[in-house]
């Protein structure tokens, strides 16, 4: 295998959090105005840096962007190709609608096996819509790969990957042999933007599309039917409304304390 790396980067197509997001009928998220998840840009950047340090695509490295989602999710792959990924894999099938982490990790693990001979799977720390952080650990469990998660730094030396993981009580150095699953935080790097050259180059890059049958899965194993959790009710939280706003005229600190006292907070 030499020094080159074949890296799969997971990118999710998610509703843009800059707009109001809504949960519609059947407790499902409405997927309009979607983008490549902001937190997965860090995963893509980490993969590109590892590839470029080894001579990039020309030297035989590969950064394959993988998404599971609606037909529209191809837009997340296109963005990843413009930013610099070598190729894309799109898992899409009507049967996948309503998948929870269990079903998502099942389908994504099957796709990673189908891609084959992968050295690294790199993901974001959480999807900005599901927000569970379950998928990376579930992929590691399903693929029997070491898990190096919540990485705020990542180095690969030969066949050894080393991360820093910042916890509340300590900051740990963690290492494992490749192949491995890595999830990265927003502390790890500064993601790049697509440039003109990248946008042009992306037009020639390939996206492979898989349905669940291509991955050896049955409809009942994925989607809402294959999921092991269900959302029974979703209610919008009443939006917070602004309260009293005052302008400091020299005594705002005192008025602030009056407010806390009135609220019985002191």
């Amino acid at each position: 295998m030499g020094d080159t790396l074949k890296i799969v980067v997971l990118v999710k197509h998610v509703p843009d959090a800059q707009f109001d997001r809504h949960i519609g009928p059947e407790q499902r998220l409405e997927r309009s105005e979607s983008i490549l998840s902001e937190l997965d840009e860090y995963a893509l950047e980490a993969a590109l840096q590892l590839s470029e340090a080894r001579g990039g695509d020309k030297a035989g490295n590969q950064v394959i962007a993988l998404t599971m989602g609606t037909p529209d999710a191809a837009n997340a792959l296109k963005k990843a190709l413009q930013i610099g990924a070598s190729s894309g894999v799109h898992v899409t099938d009507d049967a996948l609608a309503g998948s929870d982490a269990w079903a998502t990790s099942l389908a994504l693990a099957a796709a990673i096996r189908a891609i084959g001979d992968v050295d690294l799977v790199i993901t974001g720390m959480a999807s900005t819509d599901g927000e569970t952080s379950l998928v990376p650990a579930q992929l590691a469990e399903r693929l029997s790969l070491p898990q190096l998660t919540f990485a705020s730094s990542l180095d690969v030396d030969g066949r050894t990957a080393v991360i820093r993981r910042d916890g509340d009580a300590s900051s740990d150095t963690v290492e494992a042999e490749l192949p491995a699953v890595v999830s990265v935080t927003d502390q790890i790097n500064e993601p790049r933007y697509p440039n003109f050259k990248g946008i042009l180059a992306a037009k020639k890059k390939k996206i492979a599309t898989f349905g669940i049958a291509d991955l050896g899965l049955e409809p009942g194993q994925v989607g809402a039917a294959g999921s092991l959790t269900s959302v029974e009710q979703a209610d919008p939280r009443p939006p917070r409304t602004a309260g009293t706003i005052i302008t400091d005229e020299g005594d705002a600190g005192l008025k602030l304390v009056d407010f806390l006292a009135a609220q019985k907070l002191i």
């Binding site: 190096l148 150095t173 959790t229």
Partner: protein, 320 residues
């Protein structure tokens, strides 16, 4: 054990007894049924006695096996072995990064649904959580035979059980393959303790942002006068003014204290994601157009270097 036993997983329990948050997790388990506890280290007699007093009927340990040098995977493998012995209907873990990951792997091993970020539980297993950065409240449940639930602090108040008995202690062997493909922890730098409450446990938080210009003194002094935790925006942690573990928001901590005082923070969507479920929000910002004022119950347009010290002095004066 009856079929409705709930297994509560606790990471390392100190020799002098479980932390307050660990007892809250045991109490959360009691909402669902009789509780057994799995402790990732060998617990002291004092710890076992306190767990029993809080309702644990059985305590499972990995014996003398050390699970602490590897990341997540062996703990999940061992917990799956405990589940095979204890046969619970649900497993409750804490909602830390590691807790969620243990839950994730356990879910795959047990073919069990996992619900994370649970803020409240009902006896029938219904879990309450907020989603989409706090904009929706949902009721969710695991539809599998066993449910795995990652529960946040304050979901239940830690309290002695009405009629506690003694807890039986069982060593469950760590499966032989638990360390295969596990990532090794090769170095550990402990974080210094601040003496202030933990962000996720605190009932009051005073948070500072770029507006502090690197000087957190007024934030810390107000926090100390209120017995509060200190928090920060990502602008402040990125600048290196305060550790990343103090960051509140989408990629930091999600908090919902009784009172959140935001000072010199503009209130970007990623910051709001971590604090907008706070009971009461107070904002101090020199810019009246700052979005933080849209969600503040009480806002002061002013200089935090004037307003905060004055408030701190006034609190101290009133307390005499």
């Amino acid at each position: 054990m009856t079929a409705s036993t709930v297994l509560v997983y606790l990471d390392v329990v100190p020799a002098e007894g479980p932390h307050k948050t660990q007892l809250e997790l045991v109490a959360a388990g009691r909402i669902l049924g009789p509780v057994a506890v799995a402790v990732a280290n060998e617990p002291s007699e004092t710890a076992v006695a306190q767990l029993a007093e809080h309702g644990a009927e059985a305590v499972y340990t990995p014996g003398s096996a050390d699970l602490s040098d590897f990341l997540v995977a062996p703990k999940a493998a061992w917990l799956a072995a405990v589940v095979a012995t204890a046969q619970p209907a649900a497993v409750v873990v804490d909602n830390s990064f590691e807790g969620k990951e243990i839950a994730a792997r356990l879910g795959v091993r047990l073919s069990a649904g996992v619900v994370t970020d649970v803020v409240a539980l009902e006896a029938d297993g219904t879990a309450h959580k907020s989603v989409l950065a706090g904009s929706y409240e949902v009721r969710a449940r695991a539809t599998s035979q066993i449910a795995v639930l990652a529960v946040k602090g304050h979901a239940a108040e830690g309290a002695p059980a009405p009629a506690p008995g003694a807890a039986s202690v069982h060593a469950v062997e760590v499966p032989g393959d638990a360390f295969a493909n596990a990532a090794r922890i090769t170095a550990r730098a402990e974080r210094p303790k601040t003496g202030r409450p933990e962000l996720t446990e605190a009932s009051i938080i005073v948070a500072g942002g770029r507006g502090t210009d690197g000087d957190f003194t007024p934030i810390e002094e107000l926090a100390d006068a209120l017995g509060a935790a200190v928090g920060a925006s990502r602008a402040a942690t990125d600048a290196g003014w305060i550790g990343h573990d103090f960051q509140v928001g989408q990629t930091g901590k999600t908090v919902s204290p009784q009172l959140y005082i935001s000072a010199g923070i503009s209130g970007a969507i990623q910051q709001k994601a971590g604090m907008q479920t706070s009971k009461v929000i107070v904002a101090v910002n020199s810019d009246p157009e700052s979005p933080v004022f849209e969600i503040a119950d009480f806002g002061v347009v002013g200089d935090l270097f004037k307003v905060l010290p004055q408030a701190t002095e006034e609190i101290k004066r009133r307390r005499g």
